[in-house]
């Protein structure tokens, strides 16, 4: 703590705040990673000024080591987090986002040199501290950036899971479930639950599982399908699997997958016809209209 207290960086920053800001903004504008198409000069200037003043007050009150946890650094963290998020959305790359903090180095270092140029030992010590601090903050922005990306991916995954398993009512007592995308265990579980729930709600007798949108069928996928069919049968509804493409039919036979006594049809239309027939219904052509 005594070492922390002896640092002159906060004092130097306070003294030269305007100069550092000007240098820093210039540095950012010159830097290759600067994206004029994504952020305006005014915005950049405002962000830089706010960050510098927050940084200064945080340095005044808190030690340099607890950037990630210290209460004094909360404001700086919030600000960086916000910048990281918005830049992530605006389309900045992680390195461009981290450059925002890292490009402060030259401006800050040259001020420190001006102040402490005579005392090599103290100069080195202060530079090391400033370097470490800015590195930590830079890493923090990258971390937030990454976390945001992961959240986006997670949300999209969930959306896809829900969107990709709609249960459609085709006719009175006939449900259809067009499946799109790879069938893994998690999805099968969702498919099974939604299908069974809809069977209870609608009292459907026939459910058509359409796998036209399933790119590949391996033994595991087939197993999942059979499970779904069996569960529906246990509840008293019959399942028809449709949309089996020629390649998939070949794969199923080559793999030696036993689809048991599951009814399979080539197309959804065939399956629908079979379902209607099972319910003692049919489609007839109306008398041709007179020309």
């Amino acid at each position: 703590m005594t070492a922390e207290r002896s640092t002159r960086i906060p004092e130097i920053v306070r003294k030269h705040e305007a100069d550092i800001l000007a240098d820093w903004v210039l540095q950012q504008e010159e830097s290759v990673s600067r994206r004029r198409d994504l952020i305006s000069d005014q915005e950049l200037q405002a962000q830089s000024r706010e960050f510098l003043s927050l940084l200064q007050s945080a340095m005044q009150d808190g030690g340099f080591a607890d950037v990630h946890r210290g209460a004094e650094w909360a404001a700086v963290r919030d600000m960086l987090g916000g910048i990281s998020r918005t830049r992530g959305i605006q389309g900045f790359t992680p390195s461009e986002t981290a450059t925002f903090v890292l490009s402060l180095k030259p401006a800050l270092f040259s001020r420190i040199r001006d102040e402490l140029g005579k005392d090599a030992g103290a100069l080195f010590e202060e530079l090391r501290r400033a370097d470490e601090l800015l590195d930590r903050l830079g890493l923090y922005t990258t971390e937030v950036y990454q976390k945001n990306r992961e959240q986006v991916i997670l949300r999209q995954q969930q959306d896809m899971l829900e969107l990709s398993t709609p249960v459609v009512k085709l006719w009175d007592g006939i449900l259809a479930l067009p499946m799109i995308g790879t069938l893994d265990s998690a999805r099968t579980q969702v498919v099974m639950e939604t299908l069974l729930q809809r069977i209870v709600e609608t009292g459907a007798e026939v459910a058509i599982l359409d796998i036209t949108g399933v790119p590949t069928v391996d033994t595991l996928t087939a197993q999942h399908l059979i499970k779904t069919v069996t569960a529906a049968r246990l509840m008293g509804a019959e399942c028809i699997i449709s949309g089996i493409r020629p390649q998939i039919a070949q794969t199923i036979v080559h793999l030696g997958v036993d689809l048991g006594d599951v009814i399979t049809k080539a197309t959804l239309a065939d399956a629908f016809a079979a379902a209607l027939q099972r319910r003692s219904m049919g489609v007839t052509r109306l008398a041709a209209p007179r020309a």
Binding site: E193, L196, G203, E205, A231, L234, M235, G236, A237
Partner: protein, 131 residues
């Protein structure tokens, strides 16, 4: 001791499971049901499990066993009203209850039983005519 009531409706037996099944109860039901089928000469058994929310492998096997025993005694079995969670559990346990007819509710189950019994009668009369 707890017992699950078995109701007689015409030529069918109706079993409604309204309580949580424990193993002894299941065994008693098996005994009672086979006894009733042979005594009444019932043609069909309808088991309503719509209030059953928890199953284990034992109960699942018991359902399959009852169906098997009923078939030996010349009665068709229909299990009706299985909850989605129960169906998923049974499938995950690997109990697909082959040979057991299923229906969504009691009404449809009854229809299924009538159909099954009628088919059998028709088969018999067809055979009779053929000879």
């Amino acid at each position: 001791m707890d017992r699950i009531p078995i109701l007689k409706m015409g030529e069918f037996l109706l079993v409604t499971i309204q309580v949580d099944m424990h193993d002894q109860l299941a065994l008693t039901l098996q005994d009672d049901l086979t006894d009733r089928i042979s005594r009444t000469g019932a043609r069909g058994v309808l088991i309503d499990i719509s209030s059953l929310e928890v199953v284990d492998s034992f109960i699942g096997r018991m359902l399959a066993n009852i169906a098997g025993m009923a078939r030996v005694l010349d009665a068709a079995t229909v299990v009706v009203g299985m909850q989605p969670a129960v169906a998923i559990t049974l499938v995950e346990l690997g109990l697909s209850l082959p040979g057991v007819r299923t229906a969504l509710n009691v009404e449809r189950g009854m229809g299924l039983l009538r159909g099954a019994v009628q088919d059998r009668v028709l088969e018999v009369s067809d055979d009779g005519r053929a000879e």
